[in-house]
């Protein structure tokens, strides 16, 4: 009675053919990753230049006010807002990198540098790709990654999938929401700009169309270190400028290529791995996962074919029993 290979081959020739088909279509071998998504036509973004940042955290306070967020206490006396990272109560924080004596700004050794952390507004966002109910969306025009709690089911796949750890779920309420920076889209709807850019005194964070941001990045990269130049505050083209000597930028603008590009761009004088920014591939993660899903489920053709085979096989074994009607 031991399993004979012959029996198995016989089985495979019949209903097993359906199984074999299932195995073949389930094989990810032919799964091609799709292309990264493209920048939306009227994309807007934020440019954060760490070398201009003075760490005043006006943007942190401005963000809280604009988004009606409560203080995030992390000291025993709970006297003032002390967020240590982004979270359900904090969409934007300024952190500091410090090494050795921390004497010189924007220097890796014995220096320090500021880091702004908030939503990157990916061109091909994981959170949007994974959301089962379209609660997380990317605006087709502006590219802003927004969230709608009225649709959200709270599965937290967006929290798990984001390569930057941005979407944050609430756990201390029976009616939790996902919280994240939405580039102040409620303010933009009123013709205003994101609060973090609005309040920044040095223009370390500026808002603008992604094309203008790209042009400004190119201009800054072309500057000679120490060369005195003007930097605009709030928006690119605001005319509200101040003069400052250009810093020594590293040859990497974070967000130009990472996971297919982001609409939050980050310039720095210190390497990004020191600033806690993950080293990410140029291929977006959704392009890989959707590639597998779309290969397997394209037009539901493969599942339909497998299902047809399975119905045939099940019917074949069912009619054996038809000949032995019950009772």
């Amino acid at each position: 009675m031991a399993l004979k290979r012959r029996d198995f081959i016989k089985g495979a020739a019949g209903g097993g053919a359906a199984l074999a088909t299932a195995a073949v279509v389930s094989s990810p071998a032919p799964a091609e990753a799709r292309e990264n998504k493209q920048m939306p036509p009227n994309a807007v973004g934020l440019l954060y230049d760490s070398t201009l940042c003075i760490g005043c955290k006006a943007c942190v306070a401005g963000c809280k006010e604009a988004n009606d967020l409560p203080p995030d206490f992390n000291t025993a006396d709970k006297l003032w807002d002390t967020p240590i990272d982004i979270g359900p109560k904090t969409f934007n924080v300024i952190k500091v990198y410090a090494d050795g004596t921390a004497a010189t700004k924007d220097q890796e050794k014995d220096g320090f540098a500021f880091v702004k952390k908030s939503c990157m507004h990916c061109v091909d966002p994981s959170c949007v790709s994974v959301c089962p109910v379209s609660a997380m969306t990317k605006d087709a025009q502006t590219g802003i990654v927004g969230y709608n709690p009225d649709i959200c089911i709270g599965c937290r796949y967006c929290v798990a999938s984001c390569p930057f750890g941005v979407p944050q779920a609430e756990y201390d309420t029976p009616t939790p929401k996902i919280r994240k920076c939405e580039m102040c889209r409620h303010r933009q709807a009123e013709g205003k700009i994101p609060a973090c850019a609005e309040v920044c005194p040095t223009g370390a964070t500026v808002f603008g169309p992604i094309t203008a941001i790209n042009a400004e990045i190119a201009r800054r990269r072309a500057l000679k270190p120490g060369e005195v130049t003007t930097f605009e505050r709030r928006t690119i083209g605001s005319g509200d400028t101040h003069e400052k000597a250009a810093a020594t930028y590293i040859d990497h603008v974070y967000g130009e290529k990472e996971v297919g590009g982001t609409q939050f761009r980050f310039m720095s004088g210190v390497a990004f791995d020191k600033l806690g920014m993950p080293d990410l591939p140029e291929k977006s993660y959704p392009s890989q996962s959707e590639g597998i899903q779309h290969t397997l489920y394209s037009g539901m053709l493969a599942p339909a074919a497998v299902f047809a085979g399975l119905v045939w096989a099940a019917k074949r074994s069912a009619h054996v029993e038809d000949e032995h009607p019950e009772e």
Partner: protein, 394 residues
């Protein structure tokens, strides 16, 4: 031969025993904790955080639990798709365990959803997001729970003497059997695909585009193994002879062995091709977990090579348990141990969180015992195996 379907009989016996009382208490504790979660939020019962937004309720109750519940799927594949009628006695007990595994897994998802009152949005066309693996898993699991109960319905209809309904259902049952094979193939592989998009956050010993295939093959093996496990355990627990089922269990052991060889081959070839062989040794706790997984997976491969082990209850039991633990650990590792969202985030389930998981397992065991004692689930072997085979061989 006219009474073929009546081969299934309730086992009878007392419902109140030490086992059922303990299970009921554990289930009640879980119910209390779930009520607390509903009133005070997930944080009041779980250790979930934004570095680990999915905890043991997802990793065990859903991912591992539904793989344990693949018995119905595995048996439908051999019995109805490969047309091996000899496995028929094993189908209903397997289906019943699958019904509970999936139903309770589905219920526990609702408790894990932060905004559970919106769960119906999965079914609203304008909200459906077909790029999401989660969407596919949710839809598949929901449909499969229905399909499982329809597949099991003949036992209930027979119990309540609804012969006319039973006959109607029998005519279309093959469609549900086919669905019962398609849906698990889809979502058991997709439970692996869920992690692909997490990219670098999953350790390279687990993160691979082959995740769907590795999850599917191991889920089928876990399905076969749970059938063996339940048959052997049930023979002791219900004092029920399984000597008529031993030949089929031996064949199942052979299938598990073959599939596991394929699985292990794929696993190592994939790690080698991705150039991550070094990670097997240099990854600390994760290396250790990887070795334990491989050891558990390799046990049935070695054990089931000998006919002595395939035909003894003990050999079958050890091999099946090892396979089940391996499959469970693989899933736990992939979803929690291999997961790293950055410095500062830690997760270990809280006592309350674990008590909910134990309560759900207890509820499954309790319901299984009640059902097999009161409904026609098991074969009573009034017919000889030869007669049974004759009934099926056309």
């Amino acid at each position: 031969m006219g009474n073929f379907h009546n081969e299934h009989e309730p086992l009878g016996g007392k419902l109140v025993s030490k086992t059922t009382v303990v299970c009921a208490i554990l289930a009640l504790i879980a119910a209390f904790l779930l009520a607390k979660r509903m009133v005070l939020g997930l944080g009041s019962v779980t250790n979930l955080n934004n570095g680990f937004p999915w905890g043991i309720w997802i990793a065990y109750d859903v991912v591992i639990g539904t793989a344990f519940a693949c018995g119905g799927y595995a048996m439908a594949l051999v019995c109805y798709i490969l047309n091996k009628g000899e496995y028929h006695p094993l189908v209903r007990p397997a289906l019943l365990a699958s019904c509970f595994g999936y139903t309770l897994g589905g219920i526990s998802i609702v408790f894990d959803l932060g905004r559970w009152w919106n769960a119906w949005h999965i079914l609203v066309p304008k909200y459906m997001q077909t790029n999401s693996v989660m969407f596919e898993v949710a839809l598949c699991v929901m449909s499969y729970i229905l399909v499982l109960w329809i597949e099991f319905a003949p036992a209930i209809l027979t119990k309540f003497h609804l012969t006319a309904h039973r006959k109607k259902l029998d005519k279309v049952l093959f469609v549900f059997v086919a669905l019962g094979c398609l849906l698990p193939t889809m979502h058991q592989s997709s439970l692996g695909t869920l992690l692909v998009v997490l990219g670098y956050q999953i350790h390279p010993l687990w993160q691979t585009p082959l995740l769907p295939l590795l999850f599917l093959t191991s889920a089928i093996c876990m399905g076969f193994s749970i059938v063996v496990f339940e048959a052997v355990l049930g023979s002791a627990g219900f004092k029920r002879s399984i000597k008529h089922e031993m030949p089929q269990l031996a064949k199942i052991a052979r299938i598990v062995q073959g599939l596991m060889v394929v699985y292990l081959g794929l696993r190592f070839a994939d790690i080698a091709i991705r150039g991550e062989l070094g990670a097997i040794f240099g990854s600390g706790l994760r290396s250790l977990m990887f070795f334990i997984e491989i050891l558990l997976f390799a046990t049935p491969v070695v054990l089931f090579q000998s006919i002595k082990n395939r035909t003894s209850k003990q050999g079958l039991f050890v091999g099946a348990v090892s396979m089940l633990l391996g499959g469970a650990l693989y899933r736990l590792d992939a979803f929690l141990v291999a997961y790293d969202t950055g410095p500062g985030w830690h997760y270990f389930p809280s006592v309350s969180e674990l008590m909910v998981t134990f309560g759900i397992i207890a509820a499954e065991v309790l319901l299984y015992i009640v059902f097999v004692r009161r409904l026609p689930v098991f074969y009573t072997h009034a017919l000889t195996p030869a007669e049974l085979a004759a009934a099926h061989d056309k």
